[in-house]
Symmetry: C2
Subunit: 207 residues, 2 copies
């Protein structure tokens, strides 16, 4: 086989990652061989072993394309007035996250991470999920604490509890949707549930 140009090589690398996403999602990570991935991209295992050291390395590269920390979502909104409206910051960040998740790549990779892979090699998907959950939960609690200080939270509702409630609810919705995304739109139902929950947690209008 002939050598490819740099651009072509980069393209095959992406094609291999695309193929990995699809096959991983269909068969599960453990049950798919590197040969199946290679064939699905019209390549051979030689291409995979050239671009990646092994399956774990390929897997990490696949995840690298869809990182989505909660804090970055808030920052991307870029509205400085959100500091004074922490509950609205939460709302907008979640909506932005929902929109991202409806893109096939984000949806597929997260579905693989959450539902279609086990520990393997030196990769521990549960540890990664823990990191994601910790980051999101910490940020949510921070924003709820801020909301509490501003008097935006319903009296008697502990900001820590509020943050954990939000994180649990969002996480549950996330898992449910990733299990089979055809059931409902994460954007629609997410908006509905999130608004309902925020309405419950918000301080009643005073005057």
């Amino acid at each position: 086989m002939a050598r490819r140009t740099k651009a072509e090589a980069a393209a095959t690398r992406e094609a291999l990652l695309d193929a990995a996403e699809e096959v991983f999602l269909e068969k599960g990570v453990a049950r798919t061989s590197l040969e199946q991935i290679a064939r699905h991209a019209d390549m051979t295992r030689g291409a995979i072993y050239w671009h990646f050291r092994n399956k774990a390395d390929l897997f990490q590269a696949m995840l690298q394309r869809v990182r989505m920390p909660f804090q970055e979502l808030v920052e991307e909104i870029g509205d400085p007035s959100l500091t004074e409206r922490p509950l609205e910051a939460i709302r907008l960040a979640c909506l932005k996250g929902f929109e991202r998740l409806e893109q096939p790549r984000y949806r597929r990779v997260h579905a693989i991470l959450i539902h279609h892979c086990e520990v393997f090699g030196d990769i521990d998907p549960l540890a990664m999920q823990n990191e994601m959950a910790e980051e999101a939960c910490g940020a949510l609690i921070d924003y709820c604490g801020c909301a509490a200080r501003l008097g935006h939270l319903r009296p008697g509702l502990d900001p820590g509890v509020a943050g954990e409630l939000l994180q649990a609810m969002l996480g549950g919705l996330f898992h449910d949707w990733l299990r089979n995304h055809e059931r409902f739109s994460i954007l629609e139902r997410g908006t509905l549930l999130l608004d309902a929950q925020l309405e419950l947690m918000r301080a009643p209008a005073s005057g």
Copy 2:
């Protein structure tokens, strides 16, 4: 090897299932061979293939020992007055579920189903999770509808939304806890969050 009595055979079957739980939880379902399970129970693969047709059959038998439908939890409480206090029925059923989950067998098997197995053979763990979620969500919505008719739900809160909020929150908590149960007690934090959420959803005391 000598033949065992019926009681001994039943005991080895249970021992094999116990061993499967431990090894599955530690290594993941896909990465554990039947030989590893057999050795962990001081047996050989012959014993496994005698009691079960293959790994999928063994897996199903393992799940069979810990079925825990939401409706059964309510029925086990056996308090007829709960019909008139649907939110209390939800609360008590969840607490009963939390207590069950703290038993090692329930915790281990559910952790395996949720976090340590992929599709394999003719077994689809996601379909099983869907069934569990559907059953719980349906029951929760029913009870919330009942609560709404009795005026126990906060005005303006749709009972369907309330049920889905509860299911999402409980599911998220469930997943988080199963990921590493040493972090917190599901009974403690579950009670805390559930009470907080129910308090938010309950109709304010009138008179």
